[in-house]
Subunit: 454 residues, 2 copies
């Protein structure tokens, strides 16, 4: 343990995109900062990995054209991008019926089921259109939408089992939850912040449109480099004490005093810090009711992207298999083929306690189902179980439990004395994405500069 | 900070009824213990208060005839009991219709509504009858019951608004939650552990039958006295490290090494301790999904129990007022009259950030509604907001969010290496009550004695 003890203007807790952005903006404004990161690396829920000699993302990886905060950062740091592969046919396999379709085409459901699926999307987006992203609990009907589960809403809204099935897969792969674990209000909130359900699940024109050469974590790494000594890893913050004069932040790497603190972790992780004086009821209660989503991310490398030769894009959405979503993740200009997939929501919850070997076997079995026997011969398998990650304990984001947003929502980003909150869950746009994390960091830096340098 | 560092056989975290019982049983079996309590007092969610010169309970206070663990403890320590006053008429005021009834009579609903209310109780209890309390997530239909909210279940199960209204009041006053914040499986689980809904809401023959002269917290206090120096208050445990050789428990009052640890706090509070190695995914995920119930307990003292002269028992159950439940709490042989009431569930959530003065004004206004203008002149008002209590952050118990029990239930009491879990949430009987806490302490002590002294 390093026993540093120093004074800065602002202590930032967490070196994910939100914390790093806040620190960087503060520093630019002449505010002195330290960023204390619990983990042994920066990036938070963005994290590099390596497979078959290539760098891949074990955390967030895609960017959509509306995610301007992330795109600007990539541009600034000169990180190149490439489009998600969408050649050939995608596979949709729900309620026992496998079908194929091309990018830009409608989902290959029976017309009546497709109409029902779209009607449900329309219902969510109609409410989302009226939502103030900074206060989704104020939208007309919020109490009702938050007092039920998304599963209930599906059951009461349609009799089309295929339409329900696709929405359940959305709950699993976008919200990393079972449809019975979140409320429709949460789906409405995220749809409002993220340009709608269609955009969230879309590739071309959607949130999975583009990838970064070398990985999405790079911009976090570059921000940390720029911040230099101001970023300290292996420094879990254990307590934050506030007085009239300032804050005292105690970490495993030492104690810092400051005028203000920014906690830039997901709410449930923020709830594990000890606060003096204790958090007000609303804030504490919220952190008890926003569990992290459940996701295990998988990368599988093959000699070649053999599925392309079979006319497949690699995009798979399935409720037949355990791994419910796959995408081609072949790096351009490289011979090796890559697939990226997920144990999502309930599947991640059920498989989190099994061994990587068991998960690997299951993932390969699922790939064989759709890509054929060639899938049996991967070069390498790499996974990241976010449920096991000690300082994140889930991903992509924290998901409010039913009833939490309407009861305690304002505590999401309302400062508590000298403590400000950042993180993708507190964003105005692209909530749940890296882009939202960056925006939240910019927002909080703006609040603080205004406060410290009026 | 006291810098003690010692070795014991077992470190118990939390000096509520569960932890104190475990420590006491272990000590009796010749196992050396220390009990580390974060708060400045023992008792946990049982806590003494004082009003008009008399001691009252700010936490759990009643005992039912089936709560033999608590009754035996009272007998052992010579604590006297007295029956809850049930003379005169109770008031039920739901969906705009106020009516009175006597103890033992049916709820004064219209016959069709009463039949619906009872049918819903019967549906819950029919499933509860098939539940293994140690594993409620295994009951037939568990997945479905856990994928909806209790509110959804009410809306889909009956069209009787009065029947729904009484069940909503049960969710608020028994589970300290909004009906949209818990699943029917949780109601089924508690009904199974606690002899059914009728028993849970009942007075004579039910869980509110009897009170302790001097308060229910006394037996905790007496157990702590007996344990003497082995109980250390103001000792929040910050981390527990496990190795092959034992555990190291670090608290603000020093560091203890031991063979085993018992964490006897509610699951969400247990989740705020830092563990090395980190908790397995299932356990960590569970602690993220069991928020503490929302309750603010109120005592109001009057010169006399004037409502008795008006033919009222003082028992009020209402959805017209903000304080939804009141009971007579007049101490026998005392001239002063006492009422005990609650801001419960959503009302506690909405009123937690207001001042005690505002809550007092509202509580008195509500009492005037039912008891008449004499209620305007209390001698004293005392309250306990459990949402604000820094080491409990809610009461009576932690309530699983929809989908949590089926996904992560086994982690509730499955030991993790050298760490065992106690607390009323882990009980075999009377889950959520003091009695369950005691039983969980006995169970865990039994497990450990078997392990240490085979």
């Amino acid at each position: 343990m390093n026993n540093q003890s120093s004074h800065v203007d602002v202590v930032v807790v967490g070196a994910g995109y939100a914390g790093l952005t806040a620190a960087r903006d503060l520093k630019k404004a002449g505010v002195s900062v330290v960023v204390l990161e619990a983990d042994d690396r920066v990036g938070g829920r963005s994290m590099p990995g390596s497979i078959a000699g290539y760098v891949v993302d074990l955390g967030g990886q895609w960017v959509g054209s509306n995610q301007t905060h992330l795109l600007n950062l990539a541009k600034e740091f000169g990180v190149k991008m490439y489009p998600q592969y969408v050649g050939g046919e995608h596979i949709l396999d729900v309620t026992g019926r496998e079908a194929r379709y091309k990018e830009g085409e409608d989902l290959p459901l029976e017309p009546a089921d497709l109409a029902e699926f779209n009607r449900l999307v329309g219902e969510i987006e109609a409410v989302a259109g009226k939502v103030d992203v900074a206060a989704p609990w104020t939208v007309e009907g919020a109490d009702g939408f938050d007092a039920q589960t998304f599963e209930n809403w599906l059951q009461n809204s349609t009799t089309s089992e295929p339409a329900r099935a696709v929405h359940r897969l959305i709950a699993q792969t976008i919200f990393c939850s079972q449809p019975g674990q979140l409320s429709p209000l949460t789906a409405i909130f995220y749809a409002a912040a993220d340009e709608g359900i269609e955009h969230m699940i879309g590739t071309v024109g959607g949130a999975q449109e583009t990838l970064f050469v070398g990985g999405a974590w790079q911009m976090a790494s570059k921000m940390a480099e720029e911040l230099g000594d101001a970023v300290i890893v292996n420094a879990p913050v254990r307590s934050i004490a506030q007085t009239d004069g300032g804050v005292t932040v105690t970490s495993d790497a030492g104690v810092w005093t400051a005028a203000l603190a920014v906690v830039a972790t997901a709410p449930p992780m923020a709830g594990r810090i000890s606060y003096t004086p204790p958090m007000p009821p609303r804030r504490d209660a919220l952190t008890q009711r926003m569990p992290m989503g459940s996701i295990i991310k998988l990368h599988v490398a093959y000699q070649t992207p053999f599925w392309r030769d079979k006319g497949l894009s690699g995009a798979i959405l399935s409720d037949r298999t355990v791994t419910g979503m796959w995408m081609d993740h072949t790096i351009p200009g490289v011979e090796t083929g890559g697939m990226v997939g997920f144990f999502a929501g309930g599947h991640a919850q059920a498989w989190a306690e099994r061994s990587p070997e068991e998960r690997r076997a299951r993932a390969i079995e699922d790939l064989v189902t759709y890509l054929g026997p060639e899938a049996n011969n991967p070069i390498e398998y790499v996974e990241q179980s976010w449920l096991a990650a000690p300082w994140q304990r889930g991903a992509y984001m924290a998901i409010p439990s039913p009833g939490a947003l309407t009861a305690f929502g304002p505590a999401l980003r309302e400062p508590v004395g000298r403590i400000h909150w950042a993180g993708t869950e507190t964003a105005d746009v692209n909530v749940g994405y890296i882009d939202g994390a960056i925006q939240s960091g910019e927002r909080v830096a703006g609040e603080i500069v205004k406060q410290l340098k009026p």
